[in-house]
């Protein structure tokens, strides 16, 4: 009987709390969005599954190990505990992902047309206006965000998952779950969020602008660029160096042509392994008390606003550049400045083709698109620096 009771008492049914049940439903919803709707499945499948695992009562996925006085392990920790503390709290996983993303990034279009970097800068306006929005909500007593929280929420507008995770795990780890989910969800929603804004801010004539073909870029330029970017970051903004340093390292491995086996592994086995564990580890922060509260609603709302403002800023910046410069830029590619590589560039291309079926913008949009990655990493560096000193 005692055993019967022990089994029953330890069963999920006996222990489960409403919050956990709701979070398991949230996890299943994330899986549904990922699998059925194709929302960034590489991250949302592990995050969704991790959410369910973390909320199984009594399974101990998130339990810390217990040691006796002599330092011998008495009971091991849970899988998600180890993943979170080894890979996310330390910042290692986002940095390795950034190395992999660097190894998958082609800077060619950016090098052929460097001024598109400005579009990648403009789209980060979304980040900082969202910070203002978050502190505003706090000021009016509607929600309760510190300046560290506000900075982490703003970075959702950077449309770059690993950057958002890196910043949040440094500044306000308790918000990691909702912020990561918001970041990846909105990145997946780019094809829905962006087009109306793009159409609203441009005239049909502007959307038909054809851009001059990109010049060829030499192998040497491609090799020297990541080093140039690294040195500039090192001299001006060391707080952005972890993210951009690993990004440049990955890109150098890709372009230098002498370490292809390293570059291949970085782009495949290594980034895949880390992606799985990063996703599961983010899931471990999706507990009811951290997710089911008004702040999460606020984060989701602010994240959406950030995306919209970022998109608009990119488009408007492109229009401004056309006022100044003689080489006209199709303002649609400004929207790709939010990053969300390569989705945002594809959206720019698609909206462009609607107005002019001969106008292929994809490659032109890749420039601002990767510029957006640099831009949000720079923004991340500034935030970590300034907030750390506030």
């Amino acid at each position: 009987m005692e055993n019967m009771y022990s089994l029953w008492a330890s069963s999920g049914l006996a222990q489960i709390q409403l919050g956990q049940l709701v979070m398991m439903a949230v996890g299943l919803s994330l899986l549904f969005l990922a699998i059925r709707k194709g929302f960034e499945p590489l991250l949302l499948v592990p995050i969704g599954f991790g959410t369910i695992l973390a909320n199984i009562p009594g399974a101990g996925f998130d339990a810390a190990p217990v040691y006796d006085a002599l330092g011998h392990m008495q009971s091991p920790g849970g899988l998600l505990y180890y993943i979170y503390h080894a890979g996310i709290e330390t910042g290692l996983f986002p940095l390795i992902i950034f190395m992999g993303v660097g190894a998958m990034t082609d800077f060619g279009p950016l090098l052929a047309n460097p001024k598109t970097l400005l579009l990648g800068a403009a789209a980060q306006v979304g980040i900082f206006t969202t910070v203002l929005g978050a502190v505003g909500l706090s000021y009016f007593g509607i929600l309760d965000f510190s300046i560290r929280d506000a900075a982490s929420i703003g970075i959702i507008g950077g449309a770059d998952g690993p950057t958002a995770i890196f910043v949040t795990s440094k500044l306000s780890p308790d918000l990691l779950g909702p912020i990561a989910v918001a970041a990846y969800s909105y990145m997946a929603l780019v094809p829905i969020i962006q087009p109306p804004i793009m159409r609203a801010l441009t005239t049909p004539a502007e959307r038909q602008i054809e851009m001059v073909q990109l010049r060829p870029v030499s192998k040497s330029e491609r090799i020297v660029f990541p080093l140039t970017l690294l040195v500039l970051v090192a001299l001006l903004l060391p707080d952005a160096a972890p993210l951009l340093g690993m990004f440049c390292f990955g890109n150098l491995m890709r372009e230098c042509g002498v370490v292809n086996r390293l570059s291949d592994t970085t782009q495949n086995a290594l980034i895949n392994i880390v992606t799985i564990f990063l996703g599961l580890g983010v899931g471990s922060k999706m507990s009811a008390e951290k997710f089911l509260n008004p702040e999460t609603m606020g984060i989701l709302a602010l994240g959406a606003v950030a995306f919209c403002i970022g998109t608009a800023s990119g488009v408007l910046m492109a229009k401004l550049m056309n006022v100044v410069s003689t080489h006209k830029v199709n303002p649609l590619i400004g929207a790709a400045g939010v990053s969300a590589v390569p989705m945002a560039a594809r959206v720019a291309n698609k909206v462009g083709l609607e107005s002019n079926p001969q106008n292929f913008l994809l490659m032109h949009a890749m420039g601002p698109n990767v510029a957006g990655v640099i831009g949000s990493a720079v923004a991340a560096g500034v935030m970590i620096n300034l907030v750390g000193n506030m």
Partner: protein
């Protein structure tokens, strides 16, 4: 305290956007310069049109060119 929070937010916005724009504007110039210098020092064989190179995100084990060769073999086989 709460006024400070707003102030902090404004400061973040101001200095944040300022830095982002300054940095990327500088990078535009430096990149132009870098390309000029590099192409002067090493006037290189451009490896095809940059714009034509798609992002490799497939991670496929089989090279597309080899896949094409195999397709040719299939076509010939079927055409017999």
């Amino acid at each position: 305290m709460e006024a400070t929070l707003i102030d902090q937010g404004l400061d973040l916005m101001l200095f944040g956007m300022g830095t982002v724009f300054t940095f990327l504007t500088l990078l535009v110039g430096v990149t132009h310069l870098m390309s000029m210098v590099v192409n002067k020092i090493a006037p290189a064989e451009p490896d095809a049109l940059a714009g034509a190179l798609p992002l490799n995100t497939s991670g496929a084990a089989i090279d597309p060119r080899i896949a094409k060769v195999i397709q040719v073999a299939i076509d010939k086989h079927r055409a017999r």
